[in-house]
Amino acid sequence: MHWRNLRHRTAQTILAIAAIAVAVALPVVLLSVGGGVYSHELASVQDAGFSISVDSAADHGIADAHSLARQIDAISGVAAASPILSVAVVLFTANGTGIPVLAEGVIPTAFSATQSSAERALLPPSFTLGDPDDTIHFANGTYGGPASGQVLLSTPLLQTLNLSSGASATLSPTTNRSAGVGVTVVGSFGLPPGLLGPSALFVALMPLSQLQSLVGLGRSTTGALLDDADSVQVAVVPALAGNPAAVARITAEVQALVPYYSVTSLTQQTSEIRAAQAVITGFYVGLSSVGLVVSLLFLVIILMRRVEQERSAIGIQRAIGVPAWRVSRGLLLEAEALTLCGGLSGVAGGILVISLLARWGSPTVSEIAGLATYDPVTLAGLVLGLLLMGLVASLLPVRRALNLPLPEVLR
């Protein structure tokens, strides 16, 4: 019977469904896009290839990087410890002018072991830079061994300079070419899209000790050993990577070695991201519930109106003894039909909006929209919540319908 009622009041029905659909589309968009962005962030953190990061507040503030890396390496459960130094330098081609590049000093094998699988795929297969463990030139802190002089350049840099493997170049800490050292380009590596901004497309990878001595971070002017780096990234053995307790234990052991540096595990970062996600999800839900409450009120008003319009029909049914539950069921089913239609069109509309944004939005919007994930549990929960809302919305109208004064209604 309620179906015929719905058809008899097309305008009201469409309005109610539209109001609910709009109210539902908002949380669908917010939660799907928000959830997508967070799970993307989580995935990139979890796939980082390293689990623990040692950082210092100061620039290039980690001293004795080589020996620290060896000490961390000796902790049980650690797969690799990779010190990294990043300094802006100037690269001169044989006959060209200087071009600023970001030089990354690394220990090749350790660096490779702390990359995510995606990043590792961008590096040349056997990645040694002529000194796999950076021990030859470093020579136990004397910086006296022979330097390999090999560098890897990022693909954009290689293309811009029109260089190929085997070419010679000069790296200088300043714009003064004569302050530099000669290097050989032995290959290139790709950059993961979106990892570094467009400003950091020009990168040169070289053995840590060579960069340290080039920029004066190997030994001080007085000859004291510096061996500076920016951070040490620590990978745990694969069997322990997914085990928060083991990672926490290793983190604590690293922290005990270097109480003055900050040691963070990615599980910490992960839980921070999760906490942030919970907060923002709560915010989204709160924001959306405003719309949902408004549409709930709208639904109540529409159902109340319907009770008024159907006063005599309800009155007749009550008069001829149609049981109260059957009269209420009509209203309840009507409310549920409206919320179900509204909810499903809202979910569909939200998904449509996201895919339109992903397709036609500005680059940033479209990138974010492209990350959206549709959690079936959340969406089903939303629709279930709506059905519950329909139940609540029909309470007052049902009460009104059952309390209609029959003699007056049938007058």
């Binding site: 019977m1 029909a313 008069a319 001829i320 003894g321």
Partner: protein, 232 residues
Amino acid sequence: MTSEPTVRLESVRRVYHAGGPDEVRALDGVSLTIAPGEYLSVEGPSGSGKTTLLNLLGLLDVPTEGRMLWRGTPVERLGERDRTRLRRTGIGFIFQRFYLLPTLTALENVALPLLAGGLPARERETRARMLLAQVGLADRERSFPHQLSGGEEQRVAIARALANGPQLLLADEPTGELDSTRAGQVLDLLEAAHRDTGAAVVVVTHNPTVASRADRHLVMRDGRVVSDTAGR
């Protein structure tokens, strides 16, 4: 207890806005016994309390004062749920303004009181069809009320009132909106139902022709029964 009255009213009052400045004594001390199978007419000027009386008899309303027994049971002991059940199983209503549900077909309107009775759908339909045939509308079962004439609508309403085999049929001006030919048909049906089912019938009317079909005639004035006579 076969001789138990269908309904019994003892000094029943129905007062609207009791105690207020606009107090209305719609029924002011009515005592009345309706035996099974009786056919009563109720006449009286407008506002004399006829509809109020019918609403009480039909358990749509409850007395403000006095005692009312429905087949021996005091109505004040009945809850809303019991009264709803009795309205469905024991009472048939026929209203002046027909009051069919506009979104239901003739057949569905007739089957409405059967819905809660636990009958399987097929039997409900068969019974509703039979009732429609009794009132001469076998060929209109799929019509909606707005597709029926007033007389036809009222016949559907009679079929619906008879659906559960009531002990009491109540009709408030059942022919008030019909011309005399159609009114005659409706009265014939009412009479046939009275004869065939043995239900007590109470017809409220302003029309002496309608009243003349009854065996017992009440006249009301100012909320009281001022005359109660038997005979055609």
